[in-house]
């Protein structure tokens, strides 16, 4: 018996299928540690499912109904845990962003993207994460908008606009020490420090290959790319230390388990792969698990816990969230 064996659990049924969008799965432990909540986008509705041990409740909500004006196409949905202990559900769309309370029932805040000059380009928000009491959202112009969310109520204010990316932002990820990492359609990765007023720490140039998903772990930046590569960089020097020919097709999402340094990736090639990042003094990245969901192009994957003993995955046209556990 392989100690790295992840076994399929009962999938979570959704009311409709999941859309083809990168990073299309969000997972969070709300209030009660034992329960995990998931969110994924289906066209113009958001699926929200709560898993508590054996019980699952699954529902969907339509943001259009809450909004006075059209919200356009939803590009991404993500739970954000804030330092105050509060959780909010953030939606990025072609109009801008919407922020809901953790139940998804109450619209707290809406932000409309300013219209751009070039009418042939779509504008959209994409890339969502929280850091401290702020929510950061990327945009197609490359700008990252930083919003401060009050501990209670609906006071949300625009704090800062981070300017560096010249291409649409793909993903943003933060870690506990306040560092933030963002990636864009040109493959560029930027490190920021929220503790020092979002100062830019480092930039890693792209080569035209979108870095669709990015994360940070200790001194390591990990990027998943449209070319199927996973690249590992030193956060302090910005230099690439390893490059994995990880998937045969576009990678849509990666995630990291902060306690163990496990990285999980999912791709249009139908595979989920789990890698162990090199620990202190080591050089090698190890593939510890590979899983396939036949014929399904995977678009979202998340570890369900900090050790990475459980993960959830979604795919285009799939009407469920698949769960795997050690």
């Amino acid at each position: 018996p392989d100690e790295n064996m992840y076994v399929a659990q009962r999938p979570i049924s959704l009311r409709s299928s999941v859309s083809a969008l990168s990073n299309n799965l969000s997972a969070i432990s709300l209030s009660d540690r034992r329960s995990i909540s998931y969110a994924a986008v289906h066209k113009s509705v958001v699926h929200v499912a709560h898993w508590t041990g054996g019980q699952v409740t699954s529902k969907q909500f339509s943001p259009e109904e809450q909004s006075s004006s059209s919200i356009g196409h939803i590009v991404q949905v993500s739970w954000c845990h804030l330092h105050s202990g509060r959780n909010v559900l953030v939606l990025a769309s072609t109009r801008g962003l919407q922020m809901y309370d953790e139940t998804g029932l109450l619209l707290l805040f809406s932000f409309k993207l300013s219209s751009i000059h070039d009418q042939s380009e779509t504008s959209f928000a994409r890339g969502i994460c929280s850091v401290g009491d702020s929510v950061c959202v990327g945009t197609s112009s490359g700008d990252i908008q930083v919003f401060n969310v009050a501990g209670k109520g609906s006071l949300v204010t625009l704090l800062n606009t981070l300017k560096d990316h010249k291409h649409p932002v793909c993903d943003i990820h933060s870690i506990h020490d306040g560092r933030l990492v963002s990636s864009d359609d040109n493959g560029k990765i930027v490190l920021w420090d929220s503790a020092s007023d979002f100062q830019k720490l480092r930039a890693i140039d792209g080569d035209g290959n979108p870095c669709t998903s990015v994360c940070l772990w200790n001194d390591v930046v990990v990027g998943g790319y449209g070319s199927g590569h996973i690249r590992i960089f030193s956060a302090s020097t910005g230099k690439m230390t390893a490059e994995i020919a990880a998937h045969a097709r576009w990678i849509h999402a990666i995630d990291v388990a902060p306690d163990t340094g496990l990285v999980i990736s999912c791709s249009e090639d139908t595979f989920i792969r789990i890698w162990r990042l090199p620990q202190d003094g080591e050089r090698d990245v190890k593939l510890i698990h590979s899983e396939t969901i036949d014929d399904v192009q995977l678009v979202g994957v998340k570890f369900c816990d900090k050790q990475g003993t459980m993960f959830a995955v979604t795919g285009y046209d799939l009407g469920e969230i698949r769960i795997f556990k050690k």
């Binding site: 299928s17 291409h167 390893a242 399904v296």
Partner: protein, 380 residues
Amino acid sequence: MSLRALPILFLNLGGEMLYILDQRLRAQTIPEEKARKVKLDIVGMMMNRRFMEELFKPQETYPKRSMRTVFDRLAHASIMRLNATSMDKLYDLMTMAVKYQLYICPRPSDILLLTLNHLDALRELTNGDSDVVQNIDAVYGFLMQNYATLSAGQWQLIRLTLLRFFQDMHTKVSIFLKGNVQNENGWFVVSKSGPVPNGTEVPGTVRYFNDSGQEVASVAFPLSQSCSYQPATKPGSLDIRGDRVTRLGCNMYLVSPGGPLLSPDQPKATQQKEETKQSNPSIDSEASAAAGLKLLTHLLGIEKKTSGSVFRLSLVGEDDDSDETSLLVQPQQVLEINASHKRSEELTRIMDDLSITQTAPSVGEKDKGDELLDLMDSCS
């Protein structure tokens, strides 16, 4: 999402439509002259210069019903008539084929190649008619102008926008089932073997680098036994005429059930050259309506001379099992649609009326069609 997805959607759906109609015209042994005229009329209308100029303007992709309207009009651009059941089947086949091509397309930018495959085939189909060929060449120009330099991220946005259009469609198509590219549950097969896309490496290696950026080691890791990927093939050509390399977008109905699509080594089958003339319909210079769709269907609805007798084409094979284009769906009630179009201005009505489920086939062609036309006329 992407404001560039519509032309791609239209050209590929149109291409598939011609492939299917061509196959049915042969299967039903429609006289050569009539078949030629139908194909030429339809391609001619598709490639209408002003139509294309509107199509290529940055805009959101139309909802499904609107696209269906456009293709209903197109299918009836000539002397051929399709009843509702046949039109449904035609549209299902077209959409599933394009969904398949977009779904398994190795990398998003390859969508341009598969679109060029369709365009190449349309050019061959109408070769000899210089007006239409000129328009097709103009479309090639529009494609190069607008798409040749798009980034991988922009292409993926187009692809994801179109996958949204095709989401939840799992209609089973005989030729796909027989070719083992679609499962019994309607899902397309994602192969774990074959060449990886250009720019991607065969998975299985980790490379390590030192501080100077030099590679210091290369370590293999095992892939699952089900995988047998190969290195990428050479990139396809974007020239006006060239080897696209990919078989996606080629006519899968031209050869045996294996199809050029499914056996990569087969040479691309070619159509016979056709010598036909077509007079372009007179184009109304009415100012374009606010909604792009209004103008598009307006252009498609332009009064056409229909010389020669009208004939009916069916997509419902007598023997469904042997029919290459039969679908495994239940036949619906038949509705005769009169396609002698007049100009229409109220599009929403047309779209709504497409879901008419009136019973009883009419005796003459005109009866049911008149109701539709009356509705259209009353709104103009």
